[in-house]
Symmetry: D2
Subunit: 346 residues, 4 copies
C-alpha cells in the first residue's frame, strides 16, 4: 500500500510500504476513504516529538471502511463504515472505565501516527476496534464526520466541557486557529451570551466571527483585558479557553477570568508558564488541562446527524490522498493559504 512515512525531522514521503495487517485479536484494519492533517503532525515532522520513530506512518484521523477484524472484535464488521478516533481505548483499564481514554493504561491513548502507524495511508490497523471506532450514521458522508476524529472532541471536551460553560456565560477563546474555532463552534452548544475571540491575526479573527464569536479582539494592538472588563462589568469572563499553547496566552487567560471562573487549557505547550498565585490564591479560580478522551464522539455524531452541528466550515482544502505531501505544504503554510483543515480523499 501507499503511505506517508516520516523519515526524520523535516523529511517525509509518500512511499510503498507493506499493507497494514491485523496483529492482535482486538484489531481492525480499515481502508481509509478520508483523512486529514493536524498541527501535531507538523510537530512530529519538526522533530519535536522524539517518541516518534523514523519510518512511522503519520496521521491519526480517518473515516474508512473496515476490511478485516480480529477474532475478539464483536461490534465492528468488514464492510462497516467507521470513524477512526485519534484515541485508542483498551476499554479495560481504570482510566478507560472512567471514560478517560486519553489516559489509557492498557496500550491505548493517543498512539496512532505517533507510536504506531497512522491514518495517512491506504490502510490502517486500528487497535481495540470495538472501543476505538464509531459507526458512521447512514446518510452522512466522510466530510460530515471526519472532523469528529480529533478537532471537535478535543475542543469540546478539553475546552468547552472542562470549562464548564453554562447558558448566559461570557467566554473568551484565546487563539483562533482550528482548535480555537472548534471551541467557538462547540461552546455554542451551551448557549453562552457572548463569545470573545482573541488572536494576533485579523484573518483568523474574521474566521472566528464566521464560527460564532460575538466580539473579536486583536491582541497585537488592542488591550484585551480592558475590552473584557468593559463587557463584564469589570469582573472578567466566566470561562477562558487557551487554544494557542504558549505561556503568554495561558497567563492572559488567568488574568481574563473572573473570581470563581475557569481556565481550560487546550493548547499544546512546549514550556512552562508563570502562575501568579499571589493574585490567584484568593480568586476561586479553577484551571484544567487535558488530552482528548473522545468520550463525546457519540454525542457529536448525534448532533451532526440532527443538523445541530455543522463541521464542514472547517474544511478549506480538498486533495487526493496521493497528494498528501502537497497537503502538508498547504496546511503548514496556513498564514498564506488560509488553510484550516485539509481533507484527503481516497
Amino acid at each position: 500500500m501507499k503511505a506517508l512515512v516520516y523519515h526524520g525531522p523535516g523529511s517525509k514521503s509518500w512511499d510503498d510500504v507493506p499493507d497494514a495487517q491485523l496483529i492482535d485479536a482486538t484489531d481492525a484494519v480499515v481502508r481509509v476513504t478520508a483523512t486529514t492533517l493536524c498541527g501535531t503532525d507538523l510537530h512530529i515532522l519538526k522533530g519535536d516529538v522524539p517518541d516518534t520513530a523514523v519510518g512511522r506512518i503519520l496521521g491519526h484521523e480517518a473515516v474508512g471502511v473496515v476490511v478485516s477484524v480480529g477474532s475478539a472484535v464483536t461490534t465492528v464488521r468488514p464492510g462497516d463504515r467507521v470513524l477512526v478516533s485519534c484515541v485508542s481505548a483498551c476499554g479495560r483499564c481504570r482510566y478507560c472505565r472512567e471514560a478517560r481514554y486519553g489516559q489509557c493504561l492498557g496500550g491505548g491513548g493517543w498512539i496512532l501516527g505517533y507510536k504506531i502507524d497512522g491514518t495517512q495511508a491506504e490502510l490502517v490497523r486500528v487497535p481495540f476496534a470495538d472501543t476505538s471506532t464509531y459507526p458512521v450514521p447512514v446518510g452522512l458522508d466522510d466530510e460530515a464526520v471526519l472532523m469528529l476524529a480529533d478537532i471537535l472532541p478535543t475542543a469540546y471536551e478539553v475546552g468547552v466541557v472542562n470549562g464548564g460553560i453554562r447558558p448566559g456565560d461570557t467566554v473568551a477563546v484565546v487563539g483562533a486557529g482550528p482548535i480555537g474555532l472548534a471551541a467557538i463552534s462547540t461552546a455554542q452548544l451551551f448557549s453562552p451570551s457572548q463569545i470573545i475571540a482573541v488572536d494576533l491575526a485579523d484573518s483568523r479573527l474574521e474566521a472566528a466571527k464566521q464560527f460564532g464569536a460575538d466580539v473579536v479582539v486583536n491582541n497585537s494592538r488592542e488591550d484585551v483585558e480592558a475590552v473584557v472588563a468593559s463587557l463584564t462589568d469589570g469582573l472578567g469572563v466566566d470561562v477562558a479557553i487557551e487554544a494557542v499553547g504558549v505561556a503568554d496566552t495561558f497567563e492572559l487567560c488567568t488574568r481574563l477570568v473572573r473570581p470563581g471562573g475557569r481556565v481550560a487549557n487546550v493548547g499544546v505547550h512546549g514550556g512552562p508558564a508563570v502562575l501568579h498565585l499571589e493574585d490567584l490564591w484568593t480568586r476561586d479560580v479553577t484551571i484544567t488541562t487535558g488530552l482528548v478522551d473522545t468520550w463525546s464522539t457519540p454525542t457529536l455524531l448525534t448532533l451532526v446527524r440532527s443538523g445541530r452541528l455543522d463541521t464542514r466550515p472547517f474544511i478549506t482544502h480538498r486533495l487526493d490522498l496521493a497528494d498528501v505531501v502537497r497537503a502538508y505544504a498547504t496546511f503548514g503554510n496556513a498564514a498564506e493559504t488560509g488553510a484550516l483543515k485539509v481533507v484527503l480523499h481516497a
Copy 2:
C-alpha cells in the same frame, strides 16, 4: 389604587383598595407597568387553593418602577425599573443560602397573590426587595422581560435544569401549554438533538413546532411510546418533562424515559400518580419535582439582553391593566382564544 380582588371561588373584581404600603424595613413598593395572568391564578379563582383568603389581590408576575423602599433596602432605589419575581426570598434562611428560594423558611417563597397581595394592581408591596427584584437591563422593554417573572424560570429550572439536558439528548415534553412551550424554548439552551412535544390538541402542537419542537405527537390518536421507541433505537428519551399536572401524563413520562434517564415534573398536581416500581426499580431512573426558585433569573435576563432568548412569542394578547377581568376571560378560555400569555399594560 385599583386592584383585581379575589372575592371567593368564582368571584373577582377590579376594585378600589387602599394603596400598597411599606410594612417591613426590607420591603419595596412598586408601581406596576406590566403584569400577566398565570394558570395558578385560575386555580385560586376556582377555589382550589384554600390558603388564599377572600379579599386577596391576585397576581405574582410584574415589571414596574420602584416607588419607595424600606430602611434596610440597599440595592434597589425609587425610580429603578425592576422585574418582580414570583418568588420572594428572605436571603437568610438555610434554603435561601442554597439559592432554593422557593423553599424559603424566612417568610418568602411563593407568597405574592397567594398569601399576600399581588401584582394585578396599580401598586404592589414586594417583601425582601433586595433579593426578590431584579433590575431591568437598559434597552429592554416590559414585554421583553415580563415572562421572566415566572414561566421562563419555572420551565428552565424545574424542567430543563432538573432534567439535566445535555447536548445531543432526546427530550420529550409532555404538555404544550405555556409551561410546556417554555420548556421547549429553554431546553434548546442545552442543544438537545431532538425535542418531541406531546399533547392532545393539534393547535398546541402547532405552537410547539413554532417554539422549536422537532417532532410532535398527538396522544389522543397516536401511540407516543411507539413514536419515541422509533426515534431512540427502542431505548426511550434521555429526559421527559411533565408539563400538564395529571397522573396519566406523569405515568407516561416514566414509560417514555430510557434506562438511566430523568423525569422532571413541572406540572401542578392535584392528586397522586401510580409509580410502577416493579418496572422502574431496575432502570436507573431519576425523578425530580420542584417549585421554581428563580435562581436563574439573572441568567435568563442576560440571555434576553444578548438576544439568545426571545420571550415575546409567549405573548398572544395585550390589554390595559384596567381590563384585567376581560383578560381572565381570554386567558381562561385558551382553547378558543388561543391565548398563551395575556399581558396587561398600565
Copy 3:
C-alpha cells in the same frame, strides 16, 4: 462438577452437572472458593422470576481462582484470585462506556445465576472476564472481599451515592435487612451526622445499631414521622434510603424526606407504589432507582484493603459449599436463625 440446580418453583438440589467451560473468547472459568446466597436467589426459587429456566445453576457472588481464559482475555490469567461480580459488563456498549454496567446492552448486566449458570457451583463460566472480575488484593482472604460481589456495591451505589449523602446529613434507612445494613455501613463513608434506621423487627434494629445507626425506630409501634421531625427541626431527613421493596416503605420515604432532599430506592419491588404528587410537586424532591453497576468495586476493594471498611460483620454463618441446600434453609429462615449472609467455602 457439583452445582446447586434450580428445578422449578420450590425445588433445587446439589447435582452432578457437566463442568463449566469456556464458550466465548472473552470468557474465564473460575473455580469457586467462596460463594454466598442472596435474597434474589430466594425470589427465583419461589418462582417469582420466570426468566430463570429450569436447570439453571443459581448464585451470582463468588471469590475464586481462574482456571482458564478465552483467547481475547488479556488482564486475567489462570491462577489469579478474583472476585466475580454479580454484574457482567461487555465493556463496549453505550451503557458500559458510562460505567452503567447494570444496563449493559451487549449481553451483560445481571445474568449470572439468572439467565446463565451461576456461582453456587464448583466452577463457573464468567463472561467478559476482563471487565467483570476484579483481582483480589494480596493479603485479603475470601471473606474479606466476598461481600463486594453484590451487597456492598448495591447499597453503596444505589443507596448511598444515588442518595447523594454529604457530611453532616441526616439519613433514614428504611429496612434493616442485609441491604439496609450495608447502606448503614457505607453511608458512613460520607460522614452523615445521624443515621436513623427503621424496621419492624427489634432484632434487625439491634443489628442496625451495631452497623452504625445512631437512632433506631420500630415502625410497628413508633411514629417514624414524629421521630424524624423531632430530630430534624421538623424539616425531614436529607436522604431516605428504601431497602425493603414494598409500597408502604417507599411511600414512607417520600414523607420522611425534607424539601430539597433525596429518596434512593434500593428495594426490589413486585408492585407499584402511590406517588403523592399533590404533596411532592412543590417540594424539590429527587427520587432515584437503580440496579447495581459495580463501578464502585475497585473503590470498595481499596477501602477494605486499607482497613476503612470491614465487611466481615455481615457474615453470620459459614458452611461447606456442599452444604448449600442447608445454607438455603438457614438463610431463608433469617427471622429465626438471625442470618445475614451465609458464606459457603469450597
Copy 4:
C-alpha cells in the same frame, strides 16, 4: 473597651479604644467571649498587608454574645451566643447568591480585622449579622466551635471540597501547620484510603499522625515523589492539597498528582509559581484556588454537635484575652512553643 490595635509594621498593643457600636442597620455588636490568632494576623503585623490601616483592631475569629443589633437584623437577637465568621456576607450580590461569600461584592468578604476593626477586642461590630453569624448550638462551649470561625471551613472548603476527595482516594497534604492539619482532619469526612502528610519538621509530622495522617514524609530528607509512587502503583495521588503557600510546595503538588487528579491550593502565596504546562497539558489535571466562603459553617457545626468532628486538638494554648500580646509571642514562635491555635478567653 480594650482591644489589640495595630500600630504599623511590628507594632501592636492592648489599648483602650472607644466601644464598638452599630453603624448600619444590618450590624450586630458582639461581646467577645473567645477569640484566637491566625497566621494572617502575623502577616499584617509584618507589614505584608498594606490595605490594613494603622489603628486597626486585629482578629477575625470569635465566639461571643450579641449585645445589640441594627434595625434590619431579624434572625439574631441580643443575648444570643454566636459564632462570628471570618467572612462577612452581604447576602445580596451575585456571589453571595451563589454562596461564594468570600467574593462578596456588596461590602463583605474577609474584612474583619483587615479592612474594619476585628475580634481581638472586648466588643466587635459584625456587619451583615444575619448572614455572617451562626447561633452556637446549645450544649457546645466556646472552644468546641471557635475553630469553625476560619481554620476548619478554610481547610474543608478550599482544600477538601475543592479537591473533590472521594472514598478510597489517596490524598497528599503538603504542609502540616494548622491549616494542613485541618485539611487532614476534615479530609477524613470523605473516607480516603490513605492520607500522606508532607512537611519539613518532624514535630509537625508527628502532629499530622495525631490528626489522622496514615503516612508522613519529611521532605527535607525523603524523596516525596518516590514515596508517593510506591504507594500509588506509580500513578500519583488522587488529590494534593497545598497548605504552605510557597512556589516549591505548589510545584511539588503538581508533580505528585496522578493523571485526572486535582491540586487544591489553600496556601497564602506572596509570589508566583512555575506551572509546567509542557508536562501537565496532557495529564487532565485540575488546579483550584480559593478564599474561604464559610458556606460549610452550618455543616461543620452539625458535625461538631453530633460528635463527628472534634476541633479541640487544635487548641494548644489558652490565655486571657488581656494577655493577647503574650499570645502573639507564643503563636508567632510555634517552632519552639509547638503552638497550633492559641485561644483567648474573656
